[in-house]
């Protein structure tokens, strides 16, 4: 961190908060409020004279509240910048009657109570989100008695105790008698892997953290007795298994089975743990002078603020969702925004560094050329046809469309932000949007060609490029047999499949139509397939109203790895196709033709009325 602070190309803003972010890749505008620190960081030499005179004592957050600090302080010894800061919430102020002692003591006159928060506005090209994680608070787990029993500590508290710069100068001492415990028990998976309380996921870091702590304890106190209660030890990384073995070699006992409760012996402050050793089937009672809860991690509350600011997605576990779990693990779905560290999921230092390096490289790769090549698959609005209804802007998953209903400015697509899903073009009621490379004309042409001969024998499928089309491909390379009369039309996203394409297919005599895309939550265009789902629900209702069997229009989510599922869906479509009779198709065509005429008449009447209005209005004007 000191290196980052010294680097000429890095501006480090500490004690700051991002208040807003707007724009798109290469052109983000970010507003940052830097909070006043009340000490001039350029002149402060961190001599510490001010601390000696400060009368305010508050718990030290960095030491987990195990020691205290003053109202003027450095958060921790290596903090960057190396200057003091005033905790204004607790400071008594500079009024000489009340206090102001630090001001009088400071030779450099660095302390300035007139400082105020500063707002910075930055024009930036790319953003790396590294919002980190928070540690689970085990006080809700009543059975472990954290905070009720003083000698039950968390792994974070042990970390501070065993640190040479910590509150006890590196001596691990009990809270009750300030003595070094002769026996320590660790409990794993506290707040992790639980569907009831805490988090359902494995926090990744606690097993190795415990193993490391056992080695440290054994190094400090070779005679200490250590027991680790666990469900599974997940020592999966490079060198991890060896470290686990070394810990066992030093005499650390690993007992498979979680304690059900911790009781305190009131006379000694020792803790009594009851656990079933699943290796022996025996219910055992263990005594330990100190218990360490190996707590998991979870996403911080503030992640939501950043999420809303940058329109990011979050996984069910609360951490940010990457654009692709395997191929784009550090990219967000929005171009130009990357993830580093625990913002994306719980990880240890090595993984966090790996991901941060990757995120930096991904950002450099975008910025270095100075210009950006975008896919030609983008949407374009014909401003003459646009009725300024705002639907396109509402459905765009990337906020790439600007439309101002109030001032009557027609919609405009920002092609750098547009990813090309085509949902806007499918939803536009005025047909004002052209989806380049997947235009209405192209898709209509494909529908007409595929249903040109023997339409009764065809299964028409709209498949999205990323999942369903790839799923069909996978079925093919896996040599799976599926009906040969399947005809696929590829779109980038199922969101592109407009109602009119489906109606056209039915009008051309298609017995059945399938719309398929990525599973909900896996959409390659953030959430565009939600609009597909909504659209099809509307269509099924309309089909019922018109007297058509809704079963003839199917919606299925098929991923790129689900070749077998593609085969099954196609077999189902073939069964559905066989149920459709030529009479039913003929009837459908009649109904749809009548419907088309009705709509055309309605549109004509509306157009005539629109023309008529100014004429009526003239005499009164």
């Amino acid at each position: 961190m000191a290196d980052a602070g010294r680097h000429p190309n890095i501006t480090l803003l500490t004690n700051s908060e991002v208040t807003s972010a707007s724009g798109y890749v290469g052109n983000f505008e970010v507003r940052v409020v830097q909070k006043a620190r009340f000490v001039d960081e350029n002149t402060c030499t961190a001599c510490g004279d001010c601390v000696k005179v400060c009368p305010v004592v508050v718990p030290d957050e960095f030491n987990q509240g195990l020691s205290s600090r003053r109202a003027i302080y450095q958060p921790f010894p290596q903090a960057v910048p190396s200057a003091y800061v005033i905790d204004i919430e607790n400071c008594l102020g500079h009024d000489p009657i009340k206090c102001g002692k630090c001001m009088a003591e400071c030779d450099k006159k660095s302390i300035d109570f007139d400082m105020s928060d500063q707002e910075h506005v930055f024009k930036i090209g790319t953003i790396v989100v590294a919002t980190g994680m928070e540690v689970y608070d085990p006080s809700v787990l009543d059975e472990y008695g954290y905070t009720r029993h003083e000698n039950v500590l968390t792994s974070m508290e042990l970390e501070r105790l065993i640190n040479a710069g910590g509150p006890s100068q590196g001596e691990v001492i009990r809270m009750t008698d300030r003595k070094v415990p002769r026996s320590v028990a660790f409990i794993q998976c506290v707040g992790s892997r639980s569907l009831r309380r805490g988090n359902p996921y494995c926090s990744n870091i606690c097993c190795m953290n415990t193993i490391k702590a056992t080695l440290q304890l054994k190094e400090h106190y070779p005679d200490i007795e250590i027991k680790v209660f666990y469900i599974d030890i997940r020592a999966f990384g490079k060198g991890f298994e060896e470290m686990f073995r070394r810990s066992r070699g030093l005499g650390v006992r690993y007992i498979r089975g979680l304690p059900g409760a911790i009781q305190e012996d009131p006379a000694t402050g020792d803790l009594i743990l009851t656990a079933e050793n699943t290796a022996t089937n025996q219910l055992e009672t263990h005594r330990a002078e100190m218990v360490i809860l190996s707590v998991g991690v979870h996403p911080p509350e503030e992640m939501k603020v950043v999420q809303e600011m940058l329109t990011l997605q979050r996984h069910a576990d609360g951490f940010y969702l990457e654009a692709h779990p395997k191929l784009e693990p550090v990219d967000s779905a929005t171009r130009g925004i990357f993830f580093a560290g625990c913002a994306e999921g719980p990880k240890d230092i090595k993984e966090a560094v790996t991901q941060a390096s990757a995120a930096a490289a991904r950002a450099i790769r975008l910025m270095n050329p100075g210009k950006l090549t975008v896919e030609a698959i983008t949407a374009e609005v014909d401003s003459h046809k646009c009725t300024i209804c705002g639907i396109c802007a509402k459905v765009c998953p990337y906020n790439a469309i600007e439309v101002d209903k109030r001032s009557g400015t027609p919609a405009h697509v920002n092609s750098a932000a547009c990813a090309g899903c085509g949902t806007c073009a499918a939803e536009c009621p005025a047909e004002a949007i052209t989806m380049h490379h997947f235009t209405d004309r192209q898709i209509n042409g494909q529908i007409d060609a595929l249903l040109d001969s023997d339409p009764m024998d065809r299964i028409l499928v709209f498949a999205c490029n990323w999942c369903s089309y790839a799923g069909a491909d996978f079925a093919g390379v896996s040599r799976l047999q599926y009906p040969a009369n399947t005809r696929l039309i590829r779109t980038m996203c199922s969101g592109r499949v407009s109602q009119k394409f489906v109606w056209r297919a039915f009008e051309q005599g298609a017995p059945v139509v399938l719309v398929s895309g990525c599973h909900i939550g896996d959409c390659h265009y953030i959430n565009a397939n939600h609009w597909t789902e909504k659209r099809l629900k509307r269509m099924w209702k309309k089909m019922e109203k018109l007297g058509l069997r809704p079963e003839r229009l199917q919606l299925e989510w098929i991923s790129a790895a689900e070749g077998i599922r593609f085969q099954e869906v196609m077999d189902k479509m073939e069964r559905l196709r066989r149920e459709v009779t030529p009479d039913e198709v003929a009837k459908t065509q009649r109904i749809l033709a009548a419907q088309r005429e009705k709509e055309a008449a309605k549109a004509a009447a509306k157009a005539a009325k629109a023309v008529a209005v100014p004429e009526d209005a003239r005499p009164s004007a």
Partner: protein, 160 residues
């Protein structure tokens, strides 16, 4: 015990019984056993082991075991279970299966017989009714029909 003697369908049967849904989620952390007040007092009573036996399909061993009737239904196991197995309810499901298969505990069976025969836990005969009349209380008639219906036993008083 051979693998052939195990009934792989047993866990599905338990899972299909109301309350038994959570059985398959157990990852054997043993928090239930560690928290169980009965396990601390009764040798061999071990919720985790019972779940394992069900998952392994050791049907007879589970249903015939006297241990399954010892749960105090304090729900401590459910409180600490990270996998939402809901062992108290799972055990209720197992007990229902056991009772249907004729493995009910002898004391409960006796109570059932008594209820089916007399409609109450204490037999009311001529002597009792005489005492009631002396005390100015109305006579009581035995009405076992309702209980026979609820318990699904033959009106003769025997088990179905």
């Amino acid at each position: 015990m051979l693998l052939n003697d195990c009934d792989p369908g047993f866990k599905h049967q338990v899972a299909a019984e109301p309350g038994g849904q959570g059985i398959k989620a157990c990852f054997a952390c043993a928090a239930c056993t560690a928290r169980c007040p009965v396990a601390g007092h009764v040798e061999g009573y071990d919720p985790r082991r019972l779940i394992r036996l069900v998952l392994l399909g050791r049907r007879e061993e589970v249903l015939a075991s006297p241990l399954i009737w010892l749960c105090s239904t304090c729900y401590s196991c459910q409180e600490v279970c990270p996998q939402q197995v809901s062992f108290t309810e799972v055990l209720t499901a197992i007990k229902n299966i056991a009772a249907r298969a004729g493995y009910g505990p002898p004391a409960t069976e006796a109570v059932i017989d008594q209820l089916a025969a007399h409609g109450r836990l204490l037999e009311v005969g001529e002597f009792e009714n005489q005492r009631r009349t002396d005390l100015g209380l109305p006579e009581v008639a035995e009405a076992p029909a309702h209980f026979q219906k609820v318990l699904g036993v033959e009106p003769a008083g025997g088990k179905s």
